[in-house]
């Protein structure tokens, strides 16, 4: 984190290569986040470029109230949400009550939890995880990606998405259960005699 602050300071002093070090360090995570947020690869690339350009132009306003990565993810998340609200508003709207009811359907599954990790993380398994996350409403998708994929704390996720910590916890609870249900159904189906 201190290293990031040094790069920020050097960039502000006119050392563009210091900014490129920050780009090298974070562009993979930001791209992954944007790909999951908007799905479309070319849109994600445009937003990736916009995110780093906005960060560069706004660097003077970065005040160390958060880590550089939290600040950067906030810029990227806002860019993605602005894009989605403008181009695909139906993907941003969601019915909290319906999502709550969906998350209340809990299926205990020995098939899923007993599946070896190497199968869960095989090419097919990874595709299923990505699909399950992509099917979430974007508001829920963002908290799962930030918390469970990127490993931000709940406080950091709240800062990035501009929501309260209780709201983040509630969305995370529902989102995780929806992803779990999706994976559970998949592995039950996969292990059923008919699929053998």
């Amino acid at each position: 984190m201190e290293e990031d602050f040094e790069f920020v300071r050097a960039t502000l002093d006119g050392d563009f290569s210091a900014f490129e070090r920050l780009v090298d360090k974070y562009h993979g995570k930001i791209y992954r986040h944007l790909r999951k947020m908007v799905s479309d690869a070319s849109v994600a690339e445009d937003l990736l470029q916009d995110t780093f350009l906005s960060a560069y132009r706004g660097l003077q306003g970065f005040n160390r109230a958060s880590s550089f990565s939290t600040w950067l993810f906030r810029i990227a998340t806002n860019a993605a949400l602005m894009y989605l609200r403008r181009e695909r508003p139906e993907t941003v709207e969601y019915d909290d009550r319906i999502m709550s009811e969906l998350a209340d359907v809990l299926t205990p599954s020995p098939e899923f939890v007993s599946t070896p990790l190497e199968i869960l993380l095989s090419m097919e398994g990874k595709a299923k995880i990505e699909q399950a996350i992509e099917q979430l409403p974007v508001i829920y998708r963002s908290v799962v990606i930030l918390r469970d994929v990127e490993g931000f704390s709940l406080e950091e996720v709240a800062t990035i998405v501009g929501a309260s910590i209780p709201a983040v916890k509630s969305r995370l609870h529902r989102a995780r259960n929806i992803v779990r249900e999706s994976l559970t159904s998949y592995y039950i189906e996969k292990r059923s005699p008919r699929s053998l």
Partner: protein
């Protein structure tokens, strides 16, 4: 008397270590004695684990190259 659903509603927070000691003890006691809830909790843990490991952050080389060129063109002229 709490129902299974009340416990399941707290499992995500439990996983994130967001609950107090007393509530953790109640949940652990319930999980020890309730097979279905225990499976749901294991499923939730597995879900979080595979999300953390199952998604690549590799960027296609051409995307990386275009990003660097874009920034060189637009940042340095500011």
């Amino acid at each position: 008397m709490k129902k299974c659903k009340d416990f399941c509603d707290r499992l995500s927070d439990y996983l994130d270590k967001e609950l107090g000691e007393n509530e953790c003890i109640l949940i652990e006691e319930h999980l020890d004695n309730c097979g279905p809830c225990s499976l749901i909790f294991e499923g939730l843990k597995t879900t979080v684990l595979v999300c953390s490991k199952g998604i690549s952050d590799e960027v296609p080389e051409e995307v990386r190259a275009r990003l660097k060129q874009f920034l060189r063109n637009n940042c340095r002229t500011d």
